[in-house]
Symmetry: C2
Subunit: 362 residues, 2 copies
DNA sequence: TTGAAAGCGCTAACAT
DNA sequence: ATGTTAGCGCTTTCAA
């Protein structure tokens, strides 16, 4: 059970082999789950290995086989709910697929950025790379010849051997907007995320698509920076505008700031203005009023994306199976209601549930 | 500039050497920044390397040198603000110290848990391990003989070669509690985190210490699970109790749920009940009322911890310099005020700022 | 200041 | 079903 590090003196396969009375290659076979090892020999080898505290040496394995069995992740160094959640799901999906994870963060505004991060991963040694929710820092063309999975951005972003998967942000944004239109709002304002983020652009597109589909006017877009503070500023602007009955915010943090500003301006939510967020952060069911929002299918997307990536690694020739559309999950709570004067079709029953117990529609 | 993967055919040091007209060893010297390479030769080598798109092979390097130049992190697979933020700071600190990161998540309640994660890191090859905010799953004694940094738990947790660092949760909790006592509250209730978490225990201890120092009664502790939902439940219990004027919640999520329940019970915050949270999550300045909370010095702690770890890796004999106490940062907003009837000393001026603009005392 | 030789611990290809 | 022989691409001696 002892944990001999990788240091000198650590037991090697040949030590195990000697102890078990077999060749070193047989030990290798056992530890790689190869066929053609009798149950009896396998048993003997495993016992010997445990006896000396043997552990495979990843570096030697990688050097000899040319495969590292690890995947590199380039992600933005931010605790924002979305990216953080996605990283966790990627780790689990990778582990389930038998790959370890190497992680490099990039900073927003970093000149070297994604390209530098990829370079460092390549040097460390990875079989594939996940570029998670990159932001558009200008033309960063990666020329890598290992497979790359681009999560939440165009596959073109990742070079020749790239596959892509997305959370379906556009569909989610569309669903959020449609929810408001369905309630009878004539149009919906949008508090967008920073447009250098593909994630923010997708949400903007979804909002546009929903309005366009019903031939509604598209009010001018306000751009925030994901922070509650920027939502707060936007909220005061919108309150001053006066003609706002519904807002779709590109994330929950901004929605919270927005709602606060509206309340301060004397507007009631949802009675006067309805607000929908995006993310379903942990507190969103308990803020006042509980926030209607959409939930991103991180787990499904990470799993699906890694399936594609692993396939590209292990079966480079196989046709990449198309990624299925991830599910759309709208969580209706108390921050949305029909417009005050029935701006559109009269909606069925109004409510003011600022103090109603939070509900989650799962 | 091209990105030859690690695949076969990738340029090796010997190719660069040939091109530059030097020995392979000299190339190695250049890329390791060793002395005794003339500026002219170095220049020639670098040019040749760039010409063929050479990149060091991490696996070969690790195998030959016995050092991987990477650090493994064992962290809980959760998007909770604290752990997620800490991970980001660890990555940056590691990178700044010249180490790459391998990450393995554990799941709460996983039987294999931390031990399994450590085992997998050891097999992949790391020079040191960071165990970040572990939870106590029973006696998990790690016997590893590479250095281990335990973040937010007793060093004993990490075996013989362990060093430890903490965010100073106890001091932070104590400051939060004292803030309430200073406002004149006779005592402070505590909504604790799950006690399997060391982080939760530390906060509980800090709260106890603050009350004990002033010889105040310690009301029964309510234990939540970090979620806003558990805070909500606790809030209804506390509202029913009737004699509560101040609550210290072990994180902001629970504080938000708690406040919502209090509001529903007809209690005003902070007029009737003051609430302090823990974390300073992104929305905390914009919820209603803006939340008074404490901020954890993640960056300082990660940096300090990694300094210790790297020292243990690179200079095993040097005495580990003691970790300095991290700073305590209390962020006073509008969720705290003197008690309604002046439970203690009459406090200077009361306020009800449920709708006041959020303020952050930095 | 530079070079030559000998492994690091494993997997791959080819025996048997 | 098992063993033998060569490397993988570096770093580490040691020599020049």
């Amino acid at each position: 059970m002892g944990g001999q590090g990788g240091g000198p003196g650590a037991p090697r396969a040949v030590d195990v082999a000697r102890l078990a009375g077999v060749s070193q290659k047989t030990v290798s076979r056992v530890f790689n789950g190869e066929r053609y090892v009798s149950a009896e020999v396998r048993e003997r080898v495993l016992r010997a290995a445990e006896g000396v505290g043997y552990r495979l040496n990843g570096a030697a394995r990688a050097l000899a086989s040319g495969r590292t069995r690890s995947i590199g992740v380039v992600t933005l160094g931010t605790a924002l709910y979305g990216p953080a959640s996605l990283l966790i799901c990627i780790e689990r999906a990778a582990r389930d697929a038998g790959y370890a994870l190497r992680v490099v963060n990039t900073l927003e505004g970093d000149p070297a950025g994604v390209a530098g991060a990829v370079e460092s991963l390549l040097e460390q040694g990875v079989d594939g790379i996940v570029v998670s929710e990159p932001i558009d820092e200008g033309s960063v063309s990666l020329s890598v010849d290992i497979p790359v999975l681009v999560l939440g951005a165009p596959a073109a972003f990742g070079g020749p051997r790239a596959v892509a998967a997305g959370v379906g942000a556009e569909s989610l944004a569309r669903a959020a907007t449609e929810h408001l239109l369905d309630l009878g709002h004539v149009t919906v304002h949008h508090l967008a995320g920073p447009q250098r983020w593909f994630a923010a652009r997708d949400r903007l597109q979804g909002w546009r698509a929903a309005l366009a589909a019903r031939e509604r006017e598209q009010p001018p877009v306000i751009e925030g920076d994901w922070s509650a503070s920027s939502g707060y500023t936007a909220g005061h602007e919108l309150a001053a505008a006066g003609d706002v009955t519904a807002v779709f915010a590109a994330n929950d943090d901004m929605a919270v700031g927005l709602i606060r500003a509206l309340l301060e301006a004397g507007l009631r939510v949802p009675h006067d203005v309805s607000v929908v967020g995006f993310d379903d952060i942990p507190v969103s069911a308990y803020v006042t009023p509980p926030l209607t929002t959409v939930r991103q299918p991180f787990d499904a997307v990470a799993r699906e994306g890694l399936r594609l990536l692993v396939q590209a690694i292990e079966k480079p020739d196989a046709e990449p199976a198309p990624a299925g559309d991830p599910p759309v999950e709208l969580v209706v709570r108390a921050s949305t209601a029909p417009p005050p004067t029935g701006g559109g079709r009269p909606a069925p029953g109004s409510r003011d549930s600022a103090h109603a117990p939070p509900t989650t529609a799962d």
